[in-house]
């Protein structure tokens, strides 16, 4: 699961932030912004698009913060907002077509991470590239299922599709990731599955 869910915010800071206190909001932002951006980047891939969706998510988060009822951890609530914003974007046919035309830059990010992160394993770089090779929808399904712990029913609900859609997307994405990562002469080049 992404680090977002594990983030704990002291009750008094949360109360102040809900009342609109700027330093409290700033403190919450500092805590939640990095994992939120990471989650969005994993789901949509592109840097500029991730920043746009991150801004949307955080604006909506602070706008709705006064209505937060603390039924779930703050991070889980924010994660839900972030995923909803990303999926709303992915569901738009026009934006999906635009995404297919723009390169996903996970590979570069992974190489940079390898340079700055001690002990960063090479197979993870390959995995980053393999993820980048997936279509946006398939990547989102894989990430939600495998990392965020969503069930097929929950994924289907978020996408507004059937459970079999989620299962088939996941199965095909797994096959593609394996095909990418296992040694072979030619790797698939099409990013649409």
């Amino acid at each position: 699961m992404s680090g977002l869910v594990d983030i704990e915010v002291p009750g008094e800071v949360l109360a102040l932030a809900r009342a609109g206190d700027r330093p409290a909001r700033q403190a919450i932002y500092a805590a939640v912004a990095p994992p939120t951006l990471t989650l969005i980047r994993r789901l949509v891939g592109q840097r500029a698009l991730s920043e746009d969706l991150f801004q949307d998510t955080m604006m909506l988060f602070f706008e709705r913060l006064p209505q937060f009822r603390q039924e779930a951890p703050l991070g889980a609530w924010l994660r839900q907002i972030a995923i909803s914003r990303c999926l709303m974007y992915l569901r738009s046919p026009w934006k999906r077509a635009r995404m297919c035309l723009e390169p996903v830059d996970f590979g570069v990010a992974a190489e940079v991470a390898a340079l700055v992160t001690p002990g960063y394993a090479g197979d993870l770089i390959d995995l980053e590239r393999a993820l980048a090779s997936l279509a946006p929808t398939a990547r989102a399904v894989v990430w939600m299922y495998e990392v965020e712990g969503y069930s097929h029913q929950e994924i289907a609900r978020e996408f507004g599709r059937s459970v079999s859609f989620s299962k088939s997307q996941l199965a095909r994405a797994h096959a593609r990731l394996r095909a990418w990562l296992e040694p072979q002469d030619e790797r698939p080049s099409c990013t649409l599955i």
């Binding site: 699961m1 912004a33 955080m58 940079v112 197979d123 995995l127 394996r178 990562l181 296992e182």
Partner: protein
């Protein structure tokens, strides 16, 4: 190298082991600036949309009005008549409704009693209007002789003026139709 991938849980473990992306989010101050910019842009976009919608409505209303004016019949009025009629036949312009009615009647009187070319469509309308005007004239005379209240007489006169106006329009249309070769 990637034997873990053979199993589902191996893939899950690898995915969860991926580090955070190198891209760092901007600070809170930058976030606030961008939020303000977005709100301003959204407001401006809303204003532009409203402006464009208003312009479209205005153009549509203008087009409808132009079309209505273009196809509307042009009856003679107290403020002037089309140039197809000789100047001497025009009802004299006047601000006073009584004078206008007199002018209209004078114009009607200047027309031949029967048109050169009888139109079946307007014939019955003209005769019907003339009959009603005659009835009103009789009624007006009897009311005046019976010393009816001035309001009643005035109402009858207004009704007569209205009928005369209608008759003028019909006769004028008839005149125009006769002028068309």
């Amino acid at each position: 190298m990637h034997t873990d991938l053979a199993s589902h849980s191996g893939l899950r473990r690898l995915l969860r082991a991926l580090p955070e992306v190198a891209q760092q989010p901007y600070g809170y101050h930058e976030f606030e600036q961008r939020a303000l910019e977005r709100e301003r842009a959204a407001r401006e976009a809303g204003d532009r949309t409203r402006l464009v919608a208003a312009a479209i409505v205005a153009v549509a209303v203008g087009a409808v009005l132009l079309r209505l004016i273009a196809f509307a019949p042009q009856p003679p009025s107290a403020h002037g008549a089309p140039a197809v009629l000789p100047e001497s036949q025009l009802p004299a312009p006047s601000d006073d409704s009584g004078a206008r009615a007199v002018a209209q009647e004078r114009w009607l009187a200047s027309l031949p009693r029967e048109p050169a070319l009888v139109h079946v469509g307007t014939r019955s309308a003209v005769m019907g209007l003339q009959d009603r005007i005659a009835q009103l004239d009789d009624l007006l005379s009897s009311e005046r002789n019976g010393r009816a209240p001035p309001a009643r007489v005035q109402a009858l006169q207004q009704e007569r003026a209205r009928l005369v106006g209608t008759l003028v329009r019909v006769r004028y249309a008839e005149t125009l139709a006769n002028d068309i070769p």
